[in-house]
Symmetry: C2
Subunit: 239 residues, 2 copies
Amino acid sequence: MAGTLSFPRPLTTVDVVIFSASATALEVLLVRRPEGTDDPFPDTWALPGGFIDTAHDNDLEACALRKLKEKTGVRAPYVEQLGSWGSASRDPRGWSATHAYFSLISADDRAFAEEHPGSQPARWFQVEGARVKERLAFDHAEILKAAVNRLRNKVEYTSLPAFLMPSEFTLSELQRVHEVLLDRTLEKKAFRTRILASNLLEELPRKKEGANRPAQLYRLKNKKAPIYFARAIVKGGGS
Amino acid sequence: MAGTLSFPRPLTTVDVVIFSASATALEVLLVRRPEGTDDPFPDTWALPGGFIDTAHDNDLEACALRKLKEKTGVRAPYVEQLGSWGSASRDPRGWSATHAYFSLISADDRAFAEEHPGSQPARWFQVEGARVKERLAFDHAEILKAAVNRLRNKVEYTSLPAFLMPSEFTLSELQRVHEVLLDRTLEKKAFRTRILASNLLEELPRKKEGANRPAQLYRLKNKKAPIYFARAIVKGGGS
DNA sequence: CTAACTTAGTGACACACTACCACTATGTGA
DNA sequence: TCACATAGTGGTAGTGTGTCACTAAGTTAG
């Protein structure tokens, strides 16, 4: 193992899959790669990310959080590592590896990204199945698919969807987000019992007024740590 | 984003946390780093791994499987990605990142590693708590801790421990491995009902003779894909 | 003012899997 | 043949989820 420093080093990047939820769909934030440069995939949508700045990023997570802050303005959202993808063929410039992160953004913070374009224009895209309609740069479609699958999976036994909600929300709204993510209806009573028994939420002293019976408002007790349920959601609801 | 190729590239490695189970403990395979070289952490135990061979490794997983094969002789064990660790400080040679994998080796294949030293001597070390007694190179103690925690967690709702068993085993043996991983006793009937109802095992037409009543032998129906239980193990057993 | 409508929220019981514990089964060795 | 050890089971309690019909509380149309 002498001369280890002489090993060729792969190109290394960090990419972030940033999710949010509209009223009817899961959405992912994508950026437009510039045209007229020598970089691959010009004028193509891609996951936010880029090279590690070895001079300023102390570690991978700091790098991911920096990119998240730049794109969404959010300082401390829910973030977890998704995995890494590396191969000789994923980047035309040579052997490359990316460290992919996975983030959930509150509905309150959805506007920022499209209003503050920064160096690259950004847009929310609806996720349909486990993909978006647009063609993505590199292997980002595969990374997105892994992120969506991971999220869908965790919906069944964690409280992750709660991190997509605005700061105050009703149980019905939370249920709707679950249903969008799982792509199936859930039974109201079972859902409410499960959530309320989990100690995830704090009841607020006010209700959301609407076209019908006002609904109790809640907020998250803990904005960063999810709850893990001992039992997964198994069955759906009617209608 | 012009001139992206000029970004300094971090040192990039792949490390593999290889677990097996003895009769009484979870064990991890470590290799001894050579002394008398310029490489950091000479004469120190470390996770098996090393630099990506960009000329021969097509992707990260292939690189991990190559290292696994070299160390354990096993071609297709259970492998999953654990995560990646990267920072300016984890390697004295500069900014470095490692892609960590996580593997479970059948008790049948434990002997190979210590009998075929290859370029570096290898040894199984007992895992106590989430660590080994020896000091490890780099941030490998942290990676090991993450791997142990992931494994412990998954024991509660997957069939992962089954991949640590020899090709034929009894339910009591499987339960003992669960108990070692969870560090608590389990209730026999509950455990057996859960496992048998899961369709994980295939009954063999023979029994294991021992000092007492012979026990039914089983083998895995699927050597690669784990089972995910809808409910986690919650409570323990007596004694 | 009242009825129809819509969404919020609950009561009561069925169901499935796990937990518990005492019991039986089948071998060895003194 | 009896003590002992481990394998394996029967029966029932416990706990969270699933089901569904019901009540609650607002709006809107007449």
